[in-house]
Structures are given as C-alpha cells and as structure tokens.
Amino acid sequence: MKALLALVTCLLFAGCFTRQVADGHDPFVVEAEADLRTAFHVVDGFLAWEQANRVGLSSEVTALADQLRRDFPGYLDSAERVLATYKRARDPASKVQVRTWLVAVNSAMLAALEHLPPSETSTAQKAARKWTP
C-alpha cells in the first residue's frame, strides 16, 4: 500500500510540473503566452500592493513601481506584437525577437516579485491561470 501511494504521489507531482501541449499547438507560443500573462499579473499585483501600502514602504520600492508603471506596458505590448508576428510567420528571426522581449518582461516581473509578499504572489498566480486555456 505504501509503495502504491508513493507511486501515485510521484505521478501526481510529475503531472503538476509537466505542461503538456495539445496536438497542433506550438509549445514555444504556449509558454510565451503563459509567461506574458503571469508577468502582467505579478506586476499588476505589485503595483496595486505598492499603492495600497505606499506610506510604509521605502522610496526605492515606490521608485521601482513608478519605473514599472512607465516601462512595463511598452515591454508587454512589444512582446505581444513580436509574438503575434511569430505566430503568423513561425520563423527563427521572429522567435529570437520574442525571446528578447520575454527577457525584458520577465526581468520586470522578477524585480516586482522581489518585493511582493507571498500572499500577493499567490493571488497573481491564480489570476494568471485564468488565461491558460
């Protein structure tokens, strides 16, 4: 019984960490779309949290938030634009551009994550899951 439970537990964990892409869908696009939505929800959550708690936060956190307010929408739009180009062409050059903008978007997300409390991070993850068809 213990061995069976151990096996099922291992399979459950394997299932949790393996993203299987439906037939006919490009794993690169699926991952890129999921990354962009996750990044958006983390940054969006960070900015809402920063605004609600601004009085008690250091000026560095607010400066980071303002930088993200200014730059992140452009990063996201650019990433989505090159991803749309890649979806039409499926060519290596567009793929490189998508990767480049994904680095910018994910760097912004990591900067936000550094300051975001775990409870807010969990909320952002749940919100991002809505966009995983």
Partner: protein, 62 residues
Amino acid sequence: MDPVTIIAAISAATTLTEKLVAIMEERSRVRELTPEQEAEWQAFKRARFRMPHWEPSDEPRD
C-alpha cells in the same frame, strides 16, 4: 490485512488515480489562445492599465 482495510486502501488509491487523471487531462488541454481569448485578454489588460494603481505616484525624485 483484513478485508475492510483492503477495501479502504483500494478506494483511496482509486480516488488518487481519479485526481491524477483529472490533472493529466487538464495539462493536455494547454494550448495557444484563440483570437476570442486574445481579444478578451487585450480588453482586460487595457482596463487594468487605466486603473489608479497604474498612475504615477507623484513622489518627488532626486
């Protein structure tokens, strides 16, 4: 091992297997966004960008 324990063990294993199958089925549905979902996403995103927490803080900068 008595029959009741064996039945309980089989029942527990069956429940876990059902959960496993559900997770696997969910994972196998991961796919690219449809044009309708993409349009919904763009509308949602634009609406969020207009919310107050996306406004600059107006804090003085050095």
